[in-house]
């Protein structure tokens, strides 16, 4: 550990009670800035944060010109990236998978219109744990609905852990499952057709309903139909969990007919239709490490899928389904690079590609003036497995890096006599 760094860290330690969790002006000096924009990587660059936002990205920002009281972080060449986004995660919804009462990711009653936003628990132990490893925003989705193809609506949360955490963008996308269940996939497609048909009828009947007229919403609630209509009217994305290449092709046709935006999730065979996905500008969310042909729908799973997709011009979003270790998307990205993916593209797959696909790119996902100051300073290459996040900043607040896990570590290092 360099001297400056240790001084800095001890400084953070001393000041922890005063500086953590308060929005403050921060100047990060001499960072290797991976912008996740067209500007690429900027060496020896300073980043100024004011009022929770990035206000200047430039070489040699003069300390004398910044307001007194600005915290200065000497990066010494360390890598600074935008905070990582977890796309399609249960972060904040699950504490322990096998303990049903600690789970809020499922419903037995609701369908397409099931909004998960009120279930998010900012005090979950998973939040500081993943934050300390670089996740600053979570796009939180329910895992399953009442049993039809729809699981519900996702919302976006920052991971600062404030007890009054509000979604920064609510009900931004719908998630559904196509194929791979006991019902025929043909039935899944009919179900989808019927749901959209019903939503269209609902739209036409709105006036009648407002005047107190009767509308038979069938097996869906009016909430579900509103949510489905939002997919066409507001072009909110529909996340389609599916793996088989031919299912994806049919889904693309469906999306064109109904004028909806789709994003594929899982998509183990997406590489087989990479050109088509690129042509239709459909993003895919994948876990590059999951190359297991775990079902007959994912026979084509392969370790270099992310590379093939990126080369073909498909927008790749990297995410890990395990909420507890959402941050391992970094390792996924590293493995994608090891198997041919461009390194910068891999970094974008953890940040700006996710923000763009979900319509969040105005505020998060890259290091650009005007965006939220959600930043991570790393002690090495952020895609490396032996790298740690040194400093995590959300909305201009330097977050505590402490986790329950680290507390246990420290306790038992003493017990075992290794401290």
């Amino acid at each position: 550990m360099s001297l400056t760094r240790s001084i800095l860290l001890s400084l953070i330690g001393l000041l922890s009670f005063s500086i953590f969790a308060k929005t403050q002006d921060i100047l990060i000096k001499n960072a290797t800035v991976i912008t996740s924009t067209e500007l690429g990587v900027l060496e020896e660059t300073d980043v100024l944060i004011q009022n929770g936002a990035i206000s200047l990205v430039s070489e040699n920002i003069d300390i004398d010109t910044v307001i007194t009281g600005t915290t200065v972080i000497e990066a010494n060449g360390r890598v600074l990236t935008a905070g990582l986004l977890a796309p399609v995660t249960n972060l904040g919804l699950i504490e322990i998978e096998l303990e049903a009462e600690t789970r809020d990711d499922r419903t037995d009653h609701f369908s397409a219109g099931f909004s998960i936003s009120s279930a998010f628990n900012p005090s979950s132990t998973l939040i500081p744990y993943n934050r300390a490893s670089g996740i600053t925003s979570a796009i939180v989705f329910p895992s399953s609905g009442r049993g039809d193809i729809f699981s519900g609506l996702g919302s976006v949360f920052k991971t600062h852990g404030d007890i009054d955490t509000q979604s920064i963008s609510t009900d931004i996308a719908m998630i559904m499952q196509m194929g791979g269940n006991t019902d025929s996939r043909a039935s899944n497609f009919l179900e989808l057709e019927d749901a959209f048909l019903k939503a269209k009828q609902f739209k036409k009947s709105r006036n009648i309903i407002q005047r107190g007229g009767f509308f038979d919403s069938g097996e869906y609630s009016e909430r579900d139909l509103e949510a489905l209509l939002n997919l066409t009217e507001e072009r909110k994305p529909l996340i389609v969990k599916t793996n088989r290449a031919s299912d994806m092709l049919r889904m693309i046709e469906f999306a064109k007919v109904h004028e909806i935006n789709i994003i594929f999730h899982g998509a183990k065979e997406a590489w087989r239709i990479a050109d088509r996905l690129a042509e239709e500008k459909i993003p895919v969310i994948i876990d590059p490490m999951d190359n297991i042909p775990s079902s007959f729908d994912s026979i084509g799973a392969r370790i270099d899928g992310a590379s093939i997709l990126t080369e073909s011009g498909v927008t790749v979003l990297i995410g890990i389904t395990d909420a507890h270790n959402s941050f391992l998307s970094r390792q996924g990205a590293g493995n994608a690079v090891a198997n041919g993916m461009d390194q910068y593209e891999a970094m974008k797959a953890l940040t700006i590609n996710i923000a763009k696909a979900f319509g969040l790119a105005d505020s998060i996902g890259s290091i650009e003036v005007g965006k939220n100051a959600d930043l991570v300073l790393w002690d090495g290459d952020p895609l490396e497995v032996m790298t740690f996040a040194d400093i995590v900043i959300i909305d201009g607040r330097i977050m505590s890096g402490m986790t329950r896990s680290k507390r246990l570590r420290d306790r038992y290092l003493r017990v075992i006599g290794l401290d």
């Binding site: 096998l98 775990s294 026979i299 084509g300 370790i303 090891a338 497995v385 038992y412 290794l418």
Partner: protein, 490 residues
């Protein structure tokens, strides 16, 4: 011999519901017959009667004799804790012959490692490949006989599907040997099997030669959830412990019956029946006699301590605690008892007993009691088995970050020598030293980097995977023509 009576039962005679022992005067004849049948009379002329019990299931893996191969300009992590820079490894006739500088290269095929890192073949002590293969189909799900809390009579090898496509994926991650366990639904789940990562039509053809048998046992949530959910015992952790103890009491009684019978005079034996064979109790007696190694799924620290007491009560040894999420809480006790802990780098929270995970778990176990701990990084996953080196790297990084003095030479042992020790095969694999099987991996980068890939994987001196030659590795049956009839899965 305790097992002398049992072995004969390969040719047992049924008599009034009991199995009658053959007259011992025929037993040598029978043994000879067995040996002829299996065609190994010369190699096995001194066959131990104890081994006969497993004879029908012996490994048939015999690698073709490999030629002289020398890997030069290698930076070697030996698996013994050392690093040897810029050295060579000579392999011949399936074994490592020499390690060092200025080795004689004559007649050898030379592979220039160009300064790359070379490690022993990676060993995963916890895998379900073959018994929970891909694709995950009900008809292929053969890993857990979850029909009774104690099933020591089942053997994982009798479930193994030899054409699981996951094997070749693991091979590309440098895995040369792996231990297949039954699942953890049961207190006593059954025998595990150690396999070499080679393609064969038969499980016997994959079996690691002369590897000891293992017994899977499980602590904690799984047995009590599975059986408690059926309103049967065990439904609590105390029910679990009562279950193990009852099983060992039964095993001790059986062991006594066997011993008493074995100690009878020949005349007395002719006058009496031998104890009936009991598949489950034979396995448990194997543990009591130290021939079968206990591999115990156990997450919590206090449960590990309780299990060590159960082992003390019945005088057997637990070799390894698997999924030992809380091993760091009892790392000193584990080291004092010479018990290994097999751990993940960072899995946690999927159930309550996995809630107290720390990244430094492996490092703390390793460093406990003046660095005498036995730490292993395992996968339990067909995804993570492909990058066990990265899991070890994460565990190493966490240990170093918390101030523990561990280097890569030591950390590589977590996925090489230590699992070999815990599987009782460390005399044959786990490190790069003369006399051991030539199981070697050449890595593209530092194996503790996410960018590192296994470039060349040797098993018993044969190049089984070469990253530059897609034709180098043998696909499983499943991989062939499965995406389209003309091609193979990668």
């Amino acid at each position: 011999m305790t097992f002398g009576s049992i072995c004969i039962h390969l040719f047992h005679l049924e008599h009034k519901g009991e199995i009658m022992i053959l007259n011992p005067k025929y037993s040598s004849l029978i043994t000879a017959l067995v040996l002829i049948l299996f065609g190994t009379i010369s190699a096995q002329s001194q066959i131990n009667e104890k081994e006969l019990i497993n004879y029908a299931y012996e490994s048939t893996y015999k690698p073709e004799e490999s030629g002289k191969v020398i890997i030069t300009n290698a930076n070697i992590l030996t698996g013994n804790g050392d690093s040897i820079l810029d050295a060579s490894i000579l392999m011949h006739k399936n074994k490592i012959v020499a390690v060092g500088k200025d080795l004689d290269q004559s007649d050898a095929m030379v592979i220039d490692a160009e300064g790359k890192w070379v490690t022993p073949g990676i060993i995963d002590i916890h895998s379900h490949m073959g018994v929970y293969p891909a694709p995950s189909l009900r008809s292929n799900s053969d890993g857990n006989e979850a029909t009774s809390p104690t099933t020591p009579h089942v053997w994982a090898e009798h479930s193994v599907w030899t054409q699981d496509p996951q094997y070749t994926l693991a091979l590309k991650g440098g895995i040369t040997s792996f231990h297949v366990l039954v699942g953890s639904a049961n207190l006593i789940g059954g025998r595990g099997v150690t396999l070499k990562n080679i393609r064969s039509r038969t499980v016997q053809g994959m079996k690691f030669p002369n590897a000891p048998y293992t017994l899977k046992m499980a602590c904690g949530e799984n047995p009590k959830r599975v059986y408690g959910g059926r309103k049967s015992e065990p439904s609590t952790r105390m029910g679990n412990v009562a279950g193990y103890r009852n099983a060992w009491i039964e095993a001790q009684a059986y062991q006594r019956r066997l011993t008493e019978y074995a100690e009878k005079s020949d005349e007395a034996k002719e006058m009496s029946y031998s104890p009936s064979r009991d598949l489950g109790l034979e396995t448990l007696v194997g543990v009591l006699e130290g021939d079968i190694l206990v591999q115990m799924h156990c997450y919590r620290g206090e449960e590990m301590a309780v299990m060590l007491d159960v082992a003390k009560e019945f005088d057997y040894k637990i070799t390894t605690f698997h999924h030992a999420i809380e091993a760091y809480k009892v790392a000193d006790i584990l080291a004092q008892n010479s018990v290994c802990a097999a751990m993940w780098a960072d899995w946690w929270g999927f159930k309550n007993e996995a809630f107290d995970m720390v990244w430094e778990n492996t490092a703390i176990v390793d460093q406990a009691e003046e660095k005498t701990g036995c730490a292993i990084v395992h996968s339990d996953s067909a995804v993570d088995i492909q990058r066990l080196n990265q899991q070890a790297a994460k565990a190493l990084a966490a240990g170093q970050k918390s101030g523990l003095d561990i280097d890569k030479g030591r950390a590589i042992q977590w996925i090489t020598l230590n699992p070999a020790i815990a599987l009782g095969i460390d005399d044959q694999v786990g490190s790069i030293e003369p006399g051991k099987m030539a199981d070697i991996v050449i890595w593209s980068h530092d194996p503790f980097s996410v960018y590192s890939k296994a470039e060349k994987v040797f098993i018993d001196g044969h190049l089984k995977f070469d990253i530059d030659d897609p034709a180098s590795f043998k696909r499983t049956d499943f991989d062939i023509g499965i995406i389209d009839p003309e091609g193979d899965r990668l």
